[in-house]
């Protein structure tokens, strides 16, 4: 069982009070909090060995190079990549997806398959490619109860070049049966990319076990700093990608007429990287690796079940996705017909410093398709407590009295 007091002591922000009230943070799907060790590691970089990695011959530069390599190794181990060269540092998941979209060699009429719940970051790059080079973008409809129709999926994967799905949806928290999807896709000669932004801090990812071809996640959702992201690809597949953003640190040499790219992963990491961020991400990975995902899941499910049960008492409240908390991981996204959920979020914030997210959560396509104005999303993490959740529910009940 999670030692919640010990964990909370590691997160300085949980001690901060505003107007005499603690901040109750339920927006971890947007941005997780970060433990003190991450902040200290970043601070150490800036105060003790601030230098460039990989290009400066001095000791400070060496130290940064080692730290970056260490993080790459930690991430590789964290997702069980075959080699650490398969780990590419990016700015965030969005940049990782854009890297894939712009590096993968598509030709006209190649088909990319997306689900109908994709974040704009996993929709717009493909629509842009459709407009630019004429690929086709097919949409796979998911079920509202969170079940995944594998037969329908198999039917749709025929002739597909690349399947790009969010492993866990930021909209309703449901996860797709990734292993089955990948198996079916490979059977039909389709490659698979998984957007794991909402997955990494809630369940163990094993890229070898999944046999996934490409994968991405953001540091800021897995206790790491903002501006850090990971793009993973099987080494052989990465070799076939055309570098997207190029320049400094991507080439072995250049003349006025020629150049030679560095090996993978450097060829995809143009310019000076966010060293402090990457070092911080390394600490974040270390921190979460010391926790048990089983315990994290069980804790989050307990909190989610309580909230779901309480919200279900109000017939006006509609939960997006399944009503079964087991299928929704750490997310409860709800709406009330004809009500603007920004109002609910603002009220919770003003009444008790409760931070939840309201809006269309960058999945405009889903809301527009169903004529839902917006949703209020409560996203949990292992550092949330039952008391916090009770306060949230109490305040929500109060608000429901005036709706």
């Amino acid at each position: 069982m999670i030692n919640i007091d010990k964990i909370r002591a590691d997160f300085k922000m949980l001690d901060i009070q505003e107007d005499g009230k603690s901040n109750l943070y339920f927006d971890s799907a947007c941005m997780s909090l970060r433990p003190n060790s991450v902040l200290e590691a970043m601070n150490d970089y800036y105060t003790k060995y601030n230098a460039c990695a990989g290009r400066s011959a001095h000791k400070l530069g060496d130290k940064v190079t080692k730290k970056i390599k260490e993080t790459r190794g930690l991430v590789a181990k964290f997702i069980n990549a075959n080699t650490e060269e398969e780990i590419i540092f990016t700015k965030n998941t969005t940049e990782s997806i854009n890297l894939l979209a712009n590096s993968f060699i598509f030709k006209k009429d190649d088909v990319v398959l997306l689900s109908d719940k994709e974040h704009n970051s996993n929709l717009i790059p493909w629509l842009l490619l459709r407009d630019r080079i004429g690929i086709k973008v097919n949409i796979f409809s998911t079920k509202d109860d969170g079940d995944f129709d594998l037969e329908e999926f198999e039917r749709m994967t025929k002739g597909i070049k690349l399947v790009c799905f969010a492993y866990t949806s930021n909209l309703d928290g449901t996860s797709v049966p990734a292993k089955d999807i990948i198996k079916i896709s490979h059977k039909n000669n389709a490659l698979v990319f998984l957007d794991c932004a909402q997955t990494v801090s809630h369940r163990k990812i094993d890229v070898q076990d999944l046999d996934v071809d490409f994968l991405a996640f953001s540091g800021h959702k897995v206790l790491g700093p903002t501006g850090t992201g990971i793009f993973y690809g099987k080494y052989k597949l990465l070799e076939n990608l055309k570098p997207f953003i190029v320049g400094g640190n991507t080439v072995l040499y250049s003349t006025y007429t020629d150049y030679k790219f560095l090996p993978i992963p450097e060829r995809f990491e143009a310019g000076l990287l966010d060293y402090a961020g990457i070092i911080g991400l390394g600490e974040a990975i270390k921190y979460i690796s010391n926790l048990s995902f089983e315990e994290i899941n069980s804790h989050e499910l307990m909190l989610n079940s309580y909230i779901t049960e309480e919200l279900s008492k109000f017939p006006q409240i509609k939960i997006i996705g399944s009503y079964d908390p087991k299928k929704r991981g750490s997310i409860i996204n709800f709406y009330i017909e004809n009500k603007d959920m920004h109002q609910i979020a603002t009220m919770l914030d003003n009444m008790a410093n409760i931070a939840i997210r309201s809006g269309q959560h960058c999945v405009h396509s889903y809301f527009n398709n169903r004529n839902i104005k917006n949703g209020a999303r409560i996203s949990l993490s292992f550092y949330n407590t039952k008391e916090e959740v009770e306060k949230l529910v109490d305040n929500l009940k109060k608000i429901m009295k005036i709706i």
Binding site: T346, N350, M351, I402
Partner: protein
């Protein structure tokens, strides 16, 4: 539209409060986003509504429910009230500038800029049996002004100054009227109206001096308004005062005791009573009465015809 309304409201409130300044900035961004066809990050209307409701909900759930249900209508009501009160405030400021009172000419209601009502105070005429008619009845209609001391400049503008040498507020305003005389061109009539009996004798003296020494009368007038009050109200000092101006003392003193003089001064008083004034100073500028000691700008505005309504 809500963004624009919020921008107006919060900009005004922002003059006085930093927290409203922040909201005004947010409303401005919202307007800007609308203009450039970008949606607000978060509905500004909902954000404000949420803030209002969350402040209310801990006080009264019933009230919060009512506000939530009728938020749109209530917003419009408050907006209209705010526009109305803003217009009212600006009107008050305008009134204060041109009349010396927020409430309008000679209105004595509370005015934030003149909380003690100094600009409307008068020395009372009740002692002399004068009733307190309303300011609307104060008039120059049917009043024969030709019997009062006058400086004729052939101007189209006319100032009639009704005051008394012994009255606090008349003495207070006198420097402003003198300044006006120096700077502006207008026909000037002075009517001495002794609201207290102790300065009545100066009406007779004034009449006699004006009869024989028209030009020097204004010097005496100036002296009587500026010399110490106790000194000028003491009859024993009259001769000494007159000596300062080389008047024929005997002639003036005899004149002041003359029955014809008393009759004439009574006639002057009768004409003043026709004006329905209830205290001094009362200054008519182009027939419009300004009751009480107003700031100089008020008289200047009236002469400059700055008053629009």
């Amino acid at each position: 539209m809500p963004c624009i309304i919020a921008l107006i409201i919060f900009s005004i409130l922002g003059i006085f409060s930093a927290s409203h300044r922040a909201l005004a900035k947010e409303a401005f961004s919202c307007v800007l986003n609308r203009v450039t066809f970008r949606p607000c990050n978060i509905g500004f209307k909902e954000k404000i509504k949420g803030k209002v409701l969350s402040n209310l909900i801990n006080r009264s759930v019933f009230l919060t429910r009512v506000v939530n249900k009728h938020y749109e209508i209530l917003s419009w009501i408050f907006f209209i009230l705010m526009v109305g009160s803003t217009v009212w405030v600006f009107n008050g400021m305008y009134n204060y500038y041109v009349y010396g009172s927020c409430n309008g000419l000679n209105e004595s209601g509370f005015c934030a800029f003149d909380p003690s009502g100094e600009n409307n105070k008068t020395s009372d005429g009740e002692e002399c049996g004068i009733n307190r008619p309303s300011p609307e009845n104060v008039t120059l209609t049917d009043v024969d002004l030709s019997i009062f001391p006058k400086i004729d400049t052939s101007s189209k503008d006319e100032v009639v100054f009704v005051g008394c040498y012994g009255c606090k507020y008349t003495r207070e305003v006198y420097p402003e009227i003198s300044k006006l005389l120096e700077k502006k061109k207008f026909n000037y009539i002075f009517a001495h109206f002794p609201v207290k009996k102790d300065s009545e004798f100066l009406s007779n003296i004034g009449y006699c001096v004006y009869k024989d020494y028209e030009e020097d009368f204004w010097k005496l007038n100036d002296y009587l308004f500026t010399a110490p009050l106790d000194y000028i109200l003491n009859k024993n000092n009259t001769i000494e005062i007159l000596e300062k101006f080389d008047f024929d003392i005997q002639k003036v003193m005899l004149c002041s005791e003359d029955n014809d003089t008393k009759t004439f001064v009574e006639r002057q008083r009768g004409e003043i009573e026709k004006m329905n004034i209830y205290g001094t100073p009362t200054i008519f500028i182009n027939k419009k009465p300004f009751i009480g000691p107003k700031p100089y700008r008020v008289y200047k505005s009236a002469i400059n015809k700055f008053i629009f309504f």
